[in-house]
Amino acid sequence: MFFHEIYNTYYLAVERMIRQAASGMLDEKSAWEIARETAFSESFLYILDAVRSETWQVVTKDFRTPLQNLPKRPLTDLERQWVAAVKQDSRMRLFEPETAGTGAGAEPETDVKQGAESETAKRRGAEKGRTFPPLYSLNDFYITDAPGEGDPYGSQEYRAVFRTVLKAAEEGGPLRIRYVSGKGREREDIYLPLRLEYSEKDDRFRLLAQGRRGFTILNLSRIKECVPEKEAAGTDAAQEELLRRGRRKNRSRESAAGQGAGDIRKAAAGQKVGGAHLSEQGSAAGTFGRRRPGAGLSLLPI
């Protein structure tokens, strides 16, 4: 079933509360914060009310729980089938390690013991042996205006560049990139990856990066060489310098990527990075208003 309560954000919020209660760390304030962060704007009202009244008998009104052994929810068959479906996609090769012979992503069976098998191992073997039909096959869909040619996912060199860029975007380190422009000019420079942008319309990946000349967009298919620039990473000051320099161009994509720079700094400093924030919208026209997050209770008169 596609639409089911098991995927409800309330269940996620309550799961977090149970785990915190199991370690004795849950109180009204932390319960409120969990509900606000995990569920919808008004959800904290209903969730806290249900906890205080013990309507849902998993967390008591004094924020304790009898559940001490809560596992992570197993995947549903829908989710497993979706994973099986996306694994057919040619772009999946970008994310899986290169393997020879058995094909990318193949995992050898290692946990079935020789000789007398334990019940647990037998059961695990039986579960691992389950195959899930893909949720959809590529032949179920037809793109009426597919791009003529996209990025060369079949190329090992391209995949190597993609993985290097992906890792740098995650970890925040600068890259030394040798790039050939559309006019055939080659240049080499240091860039701080901010975001990897994908366009389904032309089936291309682009790197949004901060270079020494400012915000830049590089087509991944034109990157000839790409290595982490450990020496230039140096201190935080060098990275700050990269981020400060340069002219502003392509504002919307830059602003979308820009908070990524803040995330990268935080990640480098070992701080937890929050979710991406929106760029401001609708602020130009005088009659436009924006609802503040969490203001769901104050209904505006119509």
Partner: protein, 425 residues
């Protein structure tokens, strides 16, 4: 009057309102509720829910028609599709949520339990901690175990005459590995059809997208995911379906029930729309139906004609420009002659790249000819207009197409106050 709830039983109503707020955000309360024949109260409830789910994206404007609420989303700036949130708002009962966590906790020890054993353990281990325990009866527990077995969360094994239930994924409380990296999960939850399922896994594993941003990304098709899922399921089972279709183009409006055999889901990357190519049992023809006009899908009996009709659809699509399959008798032929100077090779490149199965020939140093056979050449008009200024001649076996093209050019000339002369000079 029923009490307001933030959660929803079915996606149908909220799907319509979300689309209206996003696409028709200029309509006021009276216009939206009047148009749908619904009460203002219904509008208020749905608006309140959408504001709760999508508070970051709601805005309003005040004009002479009153206050208009709208959704404003910059798809280049969002890491994840916010419309997925509607799929995470299904209603549940107090027994549903209690049994969900109590059964997971119970079965995490790796042992198997019958329904009776599970009910007893839940009572003694979980509910005894509460001042007024509400003990679910045995049939409720059994139904939940069966439901979760169907979902794939539990596994049932026969033990003599009894049925034992186990947690799938073993007793590893760290949870089953989805077998896909977090980065791939973040990517494909946005870029694959039915990406909502990927978003469910992301929530479960606490994965968020911090790397990817999107260009040319349409978020609206997410609202049709359940419809798409049912149609794909019907295709895999080679079944007919009964759809409830509400097309604004049909005279008189209203909903219509139609029996169809779904064959393919068509996706346009240019306008973000999705269509079902299906055999209309009444009209005995392969037609296309916009997914956002389909309100519900009900599975019907199997069809022995699926394979033949799907193959026919694939053949038709090879000569289609967009989603229209025309009258499927003979394809129409279209010829366009253009002037392309020597230094404008990029125009010829664009014709080759975008011209699909058409054929491009150079007739002379500066004159090129593009020929194509398609079922419905009227779909080509927006693309043909991008060559205005270079078109020397346009002919089509469907005279209506050339008539529209020339007439639009005349109107264009008139609007710029340029009268007379050759349309193409």
């Amino acid at each position: 009057m029923s009490e307001y709830s933030e959660l929803i039983k079915h996606l149908g109503k909220i799907r319509d309102y979300m689309r209206d707020f996003y696409v028709f955000g200029f309509r006021s309360r009276s216009q939206l509720s009047g148009r749908k024949g619904k009460s203002g109260r219904s509008y208020d409830n749905e608006r309140r829910r959408i504001e709760s789910y999508l508070s970051d994206f709601m805005a309003f404007r005040q004009d002479k028609n009153g206050k208009s609420i709208f959704l404003s989303v910059d798809s280049a700036a969002i890491p994840e599709n916010p419309l997925y949130r509607a799929f995470k708002a299904k209603t549940f009962t107090k027994n549903d949520i209690t049994l969900h966590f109590c059964l997971l906790d119970l079965l995490a020890d790796g042992k198997g339990y019958t329904a009776a054993q599970a009910a007893e353990e839940i009572d003694s281990r979980c509910l005894s901690a509460f001042g007024e325990p509400v003990v679910p009866d045995l049939s409720t527990v059994r139904k939940k175990l069966i439901e979760y077995e169907k979902l794939g969360i539990f596994r049932a094994e026969k033990n003599g005459k009894t049925q034992l239930y186990f947690l799938n994924g073993g007793e590893d409380t760290a949870g089953e590995d989805p077998g896909i990296s977090p980065q791939a999960l973040a990517f494909f939850s946005e870029m694959s059809p039915l990406g909502v399922a990927g978003s469910y896994i992301m929530d479960r594993d606490g994965v968020r997208n911090r790397i990817f941003s999107w260009k040319h990304h349409y978020i609206m098709p997410a609202l049709d995911s359940e419809i798409c899922f049912l149609l794909v399921q019907a295709m895999h089972e080679k079944r007919k379906v009964i759809i409830t279709n509400e097309s604004p183009r049909r005279g008189g409006g209203g909903q219509l029930e139609i029996e169809i055999l779904p064959l393919k889901i068509l996706i346009s990357l240019r306008n973000g729309r999705r269509y079902a190519a299906a055999y209309h049992m009444g009209r005995k023809a392969i037609l296309t139906f916009r997914l956002d006009y389909i309100k519900s899908v009900r599975l019907a009996e199997e069809s022995g004609e699926f394979d033949i009709l799907r193959k026919k659809t694939e053949e038709l699509l090879r000569q289609s420009w967009g989603v229209s399959l025309g009258r499927q008798r003979e394809p129409e032929h279209l010829t366009m002659q253009l002037r392309i100077e020597g230094h404008e090779g990029y125009i010829a490149d664009r014709l080759r790249k975008e011209g699909k199965h058409g054929v491009l020939r150079q007739l002379s140093e500066t004159v090129w000819q593009y020929d194509i056979d398609v079922w419905d050449p009227s779909e080509m008009l927006p693309w043909l207009r991008t060559f205005i200024g270079r078109v020397l001649r346009l002919d089509c076996t469907d005279p209506a197409v050339t008539e529209i093209f020339y007439r639009d050019m005349e109107l264009l000339y008139e609007s710029y106050g340029i009268g007379g002369g050759d349309v193409f000079s």
